[in-house]
């Protein structure tokens, strides 16, 4: 199976591993795929950097991401207030989902040290559109210290005022990768 990694997904994976150079990290790759075609990974949600093999926080993180995506789909049909926090309103649904028997997605390890075609055993080919520009964006954000903007789910639990959806960082990456910047 082939996989097309978007700039946003790659840069966030890269920055997550750079933010915690001494730990194993994991995250969720969000994708859309057409039947029989390549998997298109459009985004990445950094999850944990500690105690990866323990269940409770993984279960919580996956459930929250799923709920957030479900709400986003609903929001696209209506108007969404910028910067609104939906947590208190949807808490009941989220907590109910936590204890329901929700099948987990397939988790696949990815070796960030070898982020190339051999980094993931489930994929035969990983493609990156405009690799040079993507790599430049990742390096630029790292050198400017903007990898500190990234918040993973573990970081959110340490300080719940931090946004694990990384809206600020997403906007920065989108700005750098926009055609106006002579990029992608």
């Amino acid at each position: 199976m082939s996989c097309l990694l978007s700039c946003l997904a790659y840069v966030k994976m890269y920055l997550h591993s750079c933010l915690f150079p001494r730990c194993s990290v994991n995250g969720l790759l969000l994708s859309s795929s057409s039947a029989g075609g390549a998997v298109c990974v459009t985004d990445c949600v950094p999850l944990l950097h500690s105690h990866l093999p323990l269940a409770p926080i993984t279960q919580l993180a996956l459930t929250q991401v799923k709920e957030d995506l479900r709400v986003q789909e609903g929001d696209q049909k209506g108007r969404r207030e910028p910067g609104c926090r939906r947590w208190p309103n949807r808490l009941v649904e989220l907590l109910q989902a936590l204890v329901s028997r929700v099948p987990l997605p397939v988790l696949s390890p990815v070796d960030f040290c070898r982020l190339g075609t051999d980094c993931c055993p489930f994929l035969s080919r990983i493609m990156l559109r405009q690799w040079e520009e993507t790599r430049d964006i990742a390096s630029q954000l790292l050198e400017s210290g903007d990898h500190g903007l990234l918040v993973d789910f573990d970081g959110h639990l340490d300080d719940i005022t931090k946004d694990w959806t990384n809206q600020t960082l997403n906007a920065k990456i989108a700005e750098l990768s926009s055609p106006a910047n002579g990029s992608i």
């Binding site: 093999p53 323990l54 409770p56 919580l60 808490l91 204890v99 719940i160 005022t161």
Partner: protein, 293 residues
């Protein structure tokens, strides 16, 4: 480029005190230690007195962490000149070799230290770290168990062993290590919470009930521990949902889960209000700054 002291308007005493605080708190903020320490060493070494040696050690270890071999070697050479026969300095030499992935040479250094002093725990722990760095988890676990048979009070070693067992998915043994830690550190909420997570991961009704109890204990010790709050909710809810429990147990656990949910709800509402107040304060601050107050 401006120096740190110019950028942040701090004197060498503040930089020295900052390094001392990070040493005492055992912080692993290596990039900051390198930035502050490098400037202190290069421009104010004559003012530091005997503190210079411990600062060299601290900066050297931080430099290894940041792949700054140039700075690490500079610090090591100064320490070697001052303390030529010191085992502590030899251990630092070994650590530099580890950073360069020359594990065989590093092991020879540590073996030499242990030959002269078999009770040197630091050298033994470095040998175990080498096994871990090489991915030899089974050997590392075996060596660490042998180490703990002799040095049973070493909490750092117990914690390291629990991490190794967790990575190997041997949750029973990880729980045993965390029990040892909780006995010697009964007020540490993080050990309680980690123990509860291990029990939850093991699964089964008995383990879930233990998990719930230890999540609750972690909350008693620190009521802001969000992981413990969520863990309490999840474990209590799973117990309440089980068909095997009695009506009383079901009712009690529904109550615990409801309490945890309310606390989580409250914590997020407060965090949103604080974010709003923070952004409002910044708006006001910007406004006053703009109009020249």
């Amino acid at each position: 480029m401006a120096s740190l002291s110019e950028m942040y308007d701090v004197g060498w005493e503040e930089m020295r005190d900052k390094l001392r605080k990070w040493r005492e708190d055992n912080c692993r903020n290596s990039e900051q230690i390198v930035d502050v320490g490098e400037e202190l060493i290069s421009e104010h070494s004559s003012k530091l007195g005997d503190d210079i040696w411990i600062i060299y050690e601290q900066v050297m270890i931080a430099a290894l962490d940041c792949s700054r071999d140039d700075l690490a070697l500079t610090c090591l050479q100064e320490l070697r000149k001052q303390f030529p026969d010191s085992h502590r300095v030899k251990r630092l030499t070994g650590m530099r070799l580890e950073a360069l992935e020359r594990y065989d040479d590093a092991n020879k250094h540590y073996d030499a230290i242990l030959q002269e002093d078999p009770t040197n725990t630091a050298a033994r722990k470095r040998k175990i770290s080498i096994l871990r760095a090489q991915g030899k988890s089974t050997e590392a676990i075996r060596e660490l168990n042998e180490y703990l048979e002799q040095f049973v009070g070493d909490q750092e070693a117990w914690h390291e062993l629990s991490e190794l067992y967790i990575n190997e998915h041997d949750y029973g043994k990880a729980a045993f290590c965390l029990e040892e830690l909780m006995m010697t550190n009964p007020h540490n909420h993080l050990y309680c919470e980690q123990y509860a997570e291990v029990k939850y991961t093991q699964g089964g009704m008995e383990n879930l009930e233990l998990a719930r109890k230890y999540f609750a204990q972690a909350l008693r010790l620190n009521n802001r521990n969000m992981r413990a709050l969520f863990g309490l909710y999840m474990s209590a809810s799973h117990i309440a949902a089980s068909p095997k429990v009695s009506a009383k147990v079901k009712k009690d656990n529904i109550k615990y889960a409801a309490w945890a949910a309310a606390q989580i709800n409250r914590a997020y509402k407060v965090s949103i209000e604080m974010s709003y107040l923070d952004s409002t304060f910044h708006c006001f601050y910007s406004f006053f700054f703009f109009i020249g107050y």
